[in-house]
């Protein structure tokens, strides 16, 4: 479960002064549900998700992730969260297996459990052929699989995806989309940010439209269609943003 409560994030910018990247954002995402955060570049999606993953601390408000407060127990939040974004790169000089092992150990897994988890994940994602290969020698698709394995190794109950398909080819993007669906089917709480309308339509159970750091609309796709009297999500998005 994710419960964001009045989240605010302020930054100090040399030219613009104080900037509110996230401005009183509240929403809820339940287990077995995919919540899509839809917004243009610079809308505040990444900052919101970084707060939920405790990479950033909120200036005001808080969020409860998997039962832990992001401000009070950030380390416990991180043990329950799998975070994947295009910015979360791999250590190029480590092999695929070493990369996943490293994060498993940091999550406190003992060696027998770690071995068992790695074997299971590598088998499921068909990664056995390149488990010993260095990450900088892998194709983009293989790299994405290693990133997925890294986020899964500690079996988190909450998954956070920050524009995970940006810059990926069709096949690699399909792997990610399939993986996100699988997470929901396994009962995990999934939050997913994107600016690609088709991905939202395909994947999300509930949608939040974010603009200028504020969450302007929230609901299921059917709710939003009914509320704005439009079928196309892009039209709905434009209307919400322009209001």
């Amino acid at each position: 479960m994710i419960e964001a409560q009045d989240l605010v994030k302020r930054f100090r910018d040399k030219t613009r002064g104080e900037v509110r990247a996230v401005d009183h954002v509240s929403f809820r995402c339940r287990p077995g549900e995919i919540f899509g955060l839809l917004g243009a570049n610079g809308a505040g999606k990444t900052t919101t998700l970084r707060i939920l993953a405790t990479i950033l601390t909120p200036s005001e408000g808080t969020a409860v992730v998997a039962g832990y407060d992001v401000k009070k127990e950030p380390q416990k939040v991180r043990t329950s969260v799998g975070f994947l974004s295009t910015a979360t790169a791999l250590y190029g000089r480590l092999s695929a297996q070493e990369m996943v092992e490293y994060f498993g150990r940091l999550h406190g897994l003992d060696e027998p459990t770690l071995r068992q988890r790695i074997n299971a994940i590598f088998g499921r994602l068909e990664m056995d052929d390149f488990r010993e290969r260095r990450c900088d020698k892998l194709s983009n698709g293989m790299k994405q699989k290693v990133s997925i394995a890294r986020t899964l190794v500690h079996d988190p109950s909450v998954m956070i995806f920050d524009e995970p398909t940006v810059g990926l080819d069709v096949m690699a993007a399909r792997t990610i989309v399939g993986f996100i669906r699988e997470c929901r089917d396994r009962g995990k709480t999934v939050i997913f940010s994107t600016h690609v309308m088709s991905e939202v339509e395909k994947l999300c159970d509930r949608i939040g439209i974010i603009h200028d750091g504020r969450l302007l609309a929230e609901g299921t796709l059917a709710d939003l269609r009914q509320r704005f009297g439009k079928q196309d999500l892009e039209d709905i998005f434009v209307e919400v943003v322009e209001q």
């Binding site: 974004s85 979360t88 250590y91 999550h107």
Partner: protein
């Protein structure tokens, strides 16, 4: 504080760094190649050059002296010098190294010498040029001997004792043991190189583990793991310190081996300055003491480099921040090598310079325990402050996500 987590981060960084060619080069190749090159290579080249210059028979031009057949005859008999015919452009010939020196004989040399009239002989040479110096030295010795002989003959003719013009002799004798004499020559250089390599060894990994991570996008990956930022920075710091200490240890080993080998190689050809260097003995105690004194400095360098590099957005930016630091370290290290710079309480509190100065003393076998304690303690305090700053910076979002 979880030592387990620090250990996990450290082990990963160690494996990662050992697979990085650039880290390996800065950590191992530089000390292992630089030291033998400096000690054996330069030593052998220097001794060979001096030896060859000594063996050369210098060409010397005699200007004038046609009216002094006695002097001419003496000069003709002079061994180890090749007298060349007189030419007008003797200065040009010396400058272009065609001849090594020229001697201007005053008119009527023989007659004036016999009459006891004052006169001066001029020797022209190329200042600072080794072979010209040897040629000029030989000519100076010839004329000094001639003058001494003339004085003796004049005293004998007047039946006067030699003590009339030389009432007493002055003798200078060294009482310092050979290792102290050698240490004074090389003592400043050894810690200088160790300190410098300590810094260069830590530079690359410090940049790679901070600015490099930002550039490659792995900083966000690691920040979403449950490891605390304090553990993360301490694990990284230990890796940078390992590289720094490894570079220092390798440079000390390489220096000792090069010194022993160099000593053997130079033994046959050594004389003069080389002879003095050959007397240096690098004792295990001195080497160990220098290493212990350099250790807190390695901690200071590692933490400071880590903190500075963390500010940078990219590897390139980190390089531009760190390059000026080289000067900040090199200047005090060089100042310690300069003759006349002695340890005092104020200098004992200046980082880098204090370690360099005390190490110089240790190399000569002098242990000022008061200063050693003060320097070690102050260096430890600076090192602890640098670690605290690095840890604090790692908590700051505006530093980690600087755009």
């Amino acid at each position: 504080m979880s030592l387990r987590n620090i250990g996990i981060v450290y082990r990963k960084e160690l494996v990662d760094s050992l697979r990085d060619r650039r880290t390996l080069i800065s950590m191992t190749a530089v000390p292992l190649l630089l030291m033998p090159l400096l000690t054996i290579g330069l030593g052998v080249v220097m001794v060979r050059q001096v030896g060859q210059a000594r063996e050369e028979i210098p060409k010397v031009m005699i200007l004038g002296g046609e009216d002094s057949p006695n002097l001419r005859a003496e000069l003709a008999k002079l061994e180890g010098v090749q007298i060349v015919p007189q030419a007008r452009d003797y200065a040009e010939e010396i400058s272009s190294k065609q001849i090594r020196a020229a001697v201007e004989i005053p008119a009527g040399f023989d007659a004036k010498l016999a009459a006891g009239e004052p006169m001066s002989v001029k020797i022209y040479m190329y200042e600072g040029e080794l072979r010209s110096g040897f040629g000029a030295d030989r000519m100076q010795k010839f004329f000094r001997d001639l003058r001494e002989r003339a004085i003796r003959e004049r005293l004998e003719a007047r039946q006067l004792p030699e003590s009339l013009i030389r009432p007493f002799d002055i003798m200078q004798q060294n009482v310092a043991p050979p290792e102290k004499v050698g240490g004074a020559i090389l003592g400043g250089l050894v810690p200088y190189f160790v300190i410098l390599l300590c810094l260069t060894g830590a530079m690359y990994p410090a940049m790679d583990l901070t600015a490099g991570e930002k550039e490659r996008g792995t900083i966000e990956t690691i920040l979403c793991s449950p490891v605390s930022r304090t553990h993360l920075v301490l694990g990284k710091f230990l890796m940078v310190l390992t590289a720094s200490v490894a570079t220092a240890v390798l440079s000390i080993i390489s220096m000792t081996v090069s010194f022993v080998v160099g000593k053997k190689l130079l033994q046959g050809v050594g004389s003069g300055a080389a002879g003095q260097i050959l007397q240096i003995t690098m004792t295990g105690k001195a080497i160990l003491s220098v290493f212990v004194m350099v250790l807190p400095l390695a901690v200071l360098f590692s933490a400071a480099l880590l903190a500075i590099s963390l500010f940078a957005k990219s590897f390139k930016e980190a390089q531009s921040y760190i390059s000026p630091l080289m000067i900040v370290v090199v200047l005090p290290a060089v100042a310690a090598v300069l003759p006349g710079v002695e340890l005092n309480t104020t200098l004992a509190l200046l980082p880098v310079l204090n370690t360099s100065l005390v190490s110089k003393e240790i190399m000569t076998g002098t242990y000022h325990w008061k200063y050693i304690a003060l320097i070690f303690t102050s260096s430890c305090i600076y090192a602890a402050a640098a670690i605290a700053i690095a840890v604090k910076l790692f908590q700051r979002e505006d530093v980690l996500f600087r755009t």
